[in-house]
Symmetry: C2
Amino acid sequence: MASKKTATMKDVAKEAGVALGTVSKMINGLPVSEEKRRKIEAAIKSLNYEVNTYAQGLRAQKSNLVALIIPNTNNPFFSSFTNQVEYALYKRGKKLLLCCAGGIAQKEIEYLNMAINNKVDGIIALTYSDIGNYISQDIPLVVFDRYFENRDLPRVASDNFAGACLAVEKLLEFGCRHPVYIRFYSFLPGEADKRKDGYLYACAKHHLEPDFIDVENSKNNIAVMKDFIEKHKNKDGTLSFDGVFAHTDYYGYIFQKLLRQEGFRVPEDVQIIGFDGINIFGNADDGLFISSICQPVDALAEKCVEILLSGNSSLTPSLTLLPVQYRGGGTTLE
Amino acid sequence: MASKKTATMKDVAKEAGVALGTVSKMINGLPVSEEKRRKIEAAIKSLNYEVNTYAQGLRAQKSNLVALIIPNTNNPFFSSFTNQVEYALYKRGKKLLLCCAGGIAQKEIEYLNMAINNKVDGIIALTYSDIGNYISQDIPLVVFDRYFENRDLPRVASDNFAGACLAVEKLLEFGCRHPVYIRFYSFLPGEADKRKDGYLYACAKHHLEPDFIDVENSKNNIAVMKDFIEKHKNKDGTLSFDGVFAHTDYYGYIFQKLLRQEGFRVPEDVQIIGFDGINIFGNADDGLFISSICQPVDALAEKCVEILLSGNSSLTPSLTLLPVQYRGGGTTLE
DNA sequence: CTGTTAGCGCTTTCAC
DNA sequence: GTGAAAGCGCTAACAG
């Protein structure tokens, strides 16, 4: 049962028979005699004391909060990343201020200012707008999966290029002869753009003719995909491609549905590899929705937090790429 | 560009040529002469001033933070709920402290204490442990989807009973003769338990023999489902049931996969309705993974926040049930 | 209406 | 090592 009134450090000091400052020191890991330490610990326990974040923050001009600015938590990749960030912070005694900016520039900047004014210890940003100009020098910030030209902020991302190559090579390994690539891009340059570069590179390396959908994300995505399928039908009704590397699991899943609607079999007629590694209903035990190049979400989150809180900015790498991994999910023959 | 050093209220007062207290009053919406208001506003703008949350929180013993204690954000229902809570708070100028407790009792209580000690304005809790005993009288708390015997905390949930009835009736409407129910329950009593009650009630009403899986959630769920299918095979290889009301979309989706693996067609041979209304990859435009009784996630979140912040506890309903809705998602014939 | 002032709970000098 | 004391920036109570 939580006590009626929260105990203050003063109460602890009185209970332990020491000075206020001594309690503060012990809590902050400064040297205190063994005897007083025991008394203070006992007092803390008996009073169920916890430091008041506001007083601490006011005094020290900092908090134990870290803001995560992200478009939303509906997208399963974002929500999984959020979950892992929360955990990485929890392990370090920090709390997560979740900011869903919906990809709206004005809201992203609003949250950014809010975070700065709330004296958060740091900000992890996965934004759609170029926030480079809006951050103040002295607040730690890590950018996930994006890059901005006008500012060199530390960035963390998956190795998208290598992942794309891996996708193509897996498709070839599983018997595909004509792997195509599909994506619907947004206007902002991000690390994920390198998935296309990787696809093109792998095609060149294996002497394949690249073929892809690469149009701007819109309400017409489905129509574009249907059209693509239609245009790739041979005279005998088969398809002129037999493998798909989808920019994300999402598009891979949608594309799979369209193919099946058209009577094609996945993976027998067409094999599909997506990117992200989205688990079925977020449940790691049940495998993936589709075969995928999986991003190491836990490692990515951990790395973001680690870099953010490391403090030593001179040792901070400007770009950290983490390795991805192929996992089968029923849309490939292996 | 954020300024180097944050201005304080004192700076604003000096700049505007008024007293500190006057600035405070204006900011807090208390009456101030039009003339000074203008001066203060100008000073605020020119100094790019924003109130310091910590000082404010320290003094007022409250913050603009609301804690959401939830098992995780991996589960798409939780992540969608989180997203909507964030939005509902944003609209009210509050910030979200996200606490993923993983369904671990000790962690839930830890977060609860943390939230209380951080003087959050309120707590929205979707917990697995009985937190009724651990909360102090004076902190607003709303329980989502759960109930605890020892304490009457305000609760918000979907109308699970009506939803279950609706599911059965939709299955009948679409031509099913033998709808079964499947769930894997956890140990804690929650509002969702009423889905089974609703199923049983609907069966009785329509003179159907109830038939279901209702075992504790475990690693053997798949085996249990496979076994259920096996036991319901007729001599001629058809199944003795033709409709499934799944306790959640998740189990409905898994069950569908198993049925298809066994060569049964969904929805032609067996129709499936889940519960929750999970959108494909969280994207509202692309429909559902399976046909479902959809929970009104936005209204649920909005209601939780509204009740939490309403303040007037004497007018707070002890239970608020929100209506659900059927939506087709390809696993039914309509 | 406005100015003055006493703390909120904590960290951090500074003497001892 | 330890204690005393000065604020961090703000709100609220009070006197004008």
